[in-house]
Subunit: 294 residues, 2 copies
């Protein structure tokens, strides 16, 4: 099995669905559609949708319902990036090698484009739930909504913001990583398993896989911010240092961080063992992500 | 029947539920809970929740499911006000006689508090839907999500923003009023009727009532911005003029605007006739709102 080819195929499918779920510019408010699409099609890796599709398939899920949910995750992710880049937050001018949303559309429209994407994520999931009349879909929405909110991603973003230029301890950094990045990645896996009607054991295993992968992914990000180049990363390196942000690397050192990513990655793969052949893609993806340089 | 007393009772009930649905400050991210609660309990009229409860009762709805939905509407409304007041938008320092969210918590946290309230609105509705296992709840969520998004409130906000300091025609102003304010008010009525399991005719009548009431309410707002005092209004008067915003009054004059509010109000009451006694509270509320001075 050529997993890289499978990954590329999945990315293409997600892009096609996303193109359908984010309307084309229309009417008096057309500029907001442009702003939403600008950041939604700015070279994202589609990691969260891919993870959801893969969890769905790992539990033997069938049907179309996973696609609107996968796209909703990407909308939530994109919303968070647009707001995160604003001058009142990280104040970043570039993301993935392109100007950030507010540098192109202005701050007011960037705030609204983020709001609109968060709302559209829920619209998309609700419409799909209504169409498919599936109670698993309600459970999946519940998992995603919780992970996006104050006890998940937004909560992590808050602590990240108020911790800037402060000395924070490892517990606080763990809270930020666990919530700001990991919560939605974990929700992608769990909600995918729910939509695919996995057994309680399968759902739990994918939830734990998601935790390990999400944490490993974020710490890898901290590492790349130090060791990568701007060209490879598509955004300025050492931005964490510039923004006065503690990272796993600044608190625990580069070697320990690399070792920890390796450990988390092994733990993640361990949780996929019971899935046998159906878990191979996620195991491969986990290793593939940890070897990335951007 | 003392309708004013009934209104006050409903406001108290909404406040109690809202207090339960917006968590108390906790954990590392506690400041965001404070920010969310600050604007949520800053003297709002609770118009949207009250309208939803009243529509629910008008169709003979029973049970608890309407409360989480009513509170979700207020969260969406509060989110929109927090973002609307930001320097990149209307740049308002006061709202209802109190400092706006970003003046107290800073821009970054105000953006996140708005995001968090929008997300919490969906979390609250999804949790209730899951608990009650009601398909009417999915339909109600669908109506609310659509009304809040790019083809509703956020779309209206976008056109409002890009129209500042521009000469706009009546069609554009109508688009702004119809979407920025009316869409959510209309959704409050329709979703309340759906949750209360109204007949298709009842749902349609309440939907139309919502449209007339919402438009009348917004034009009344335009009028009050001219004829009220800062003390009565709790925010600076003539803010529309200051912000370079066209209003119904600036385009059509004060007398015509007053006449139009009266007409819309009469139309609204007309739609309540078939509800007989059960529609009396909404008819009274419609007249009460049009006689307000703040």
């Amino acid at each position: 099995m050529n997993f890289k080819k499978e990954l590329d195929t999945k990315v293409d499918i997600v892009n096609q669905y996303l193109d359908g779920f984010i309307p084309q510019a229309q009417g008096y408010a057309e500029v907001i559609y442009d702003a939403m699409r600008y950041s939604s099609f700015a070279g994202g890796k589609r990691l969260r949708p891919i993870l959801m599709l893969s969890a769905f398939e790992a539990v033997g899920g069938v049907g179309e319902i996973v696609y609107p949910f996968a796209c909703a995750l990407e909308m939530i992710h994109t919303f968070s990036l647009i707001h995160d880049d604003l001058p009142a937050m990280d104040n970043d001018d570039y993301r993935r090698g392109k100007l950030t949303n507010h540098k192109v559309y202005g701050e007011g429209l960037a705030i609204l484009a983020g709001d609109a994407l968060l709302n559209l994520a829920f619209e998309t999931m609700i419409t799909a739930t209504k169409k498919h009349r599936s109670w698993e879909a309600i459970d999946a929405m519940d998992v995603i909504a919780y992970a996006a909110g104050i006890k998940g991603m937004i909560g992590g973003q808050v602590v990240d913001l108020i911790s800037e230029n402060k000395i924070i301890d490892l517990d606080t950094l763990h809270y930020i990583h666990k919530n700001k990045t990991t919560a939605i990645i974990q929700a992608a896996l769990k909600a995918g398993a729910l939509l695919g009607k996995g057994t309680p054991e399968e759902i739990e295993a994918l939830d734990k896989f998601g935790y390990c992968l999400g944490m490993a992914f974020q710490i890898q990000d901290d590492i790349l911010d130090i060791i990568s180049t701007q060209e490879e990363l598509g955004k300025p390196i050492k931005s964490d240092e510039k923004n006065g942000k503690a990272t796993f690397v600044s608190l625990k050192g580069l070697d320990f961080s690399k070792q920890y990513v390796k450990q988390l990655s092994q733990d993640a793969i361990h949780y996929m063992e019971d899935f046998k052949e159906k878990g191979q893609f996620l195991s491969w993806l986990s290793e593939y992500l940890m070897s990335r340089t951007y």
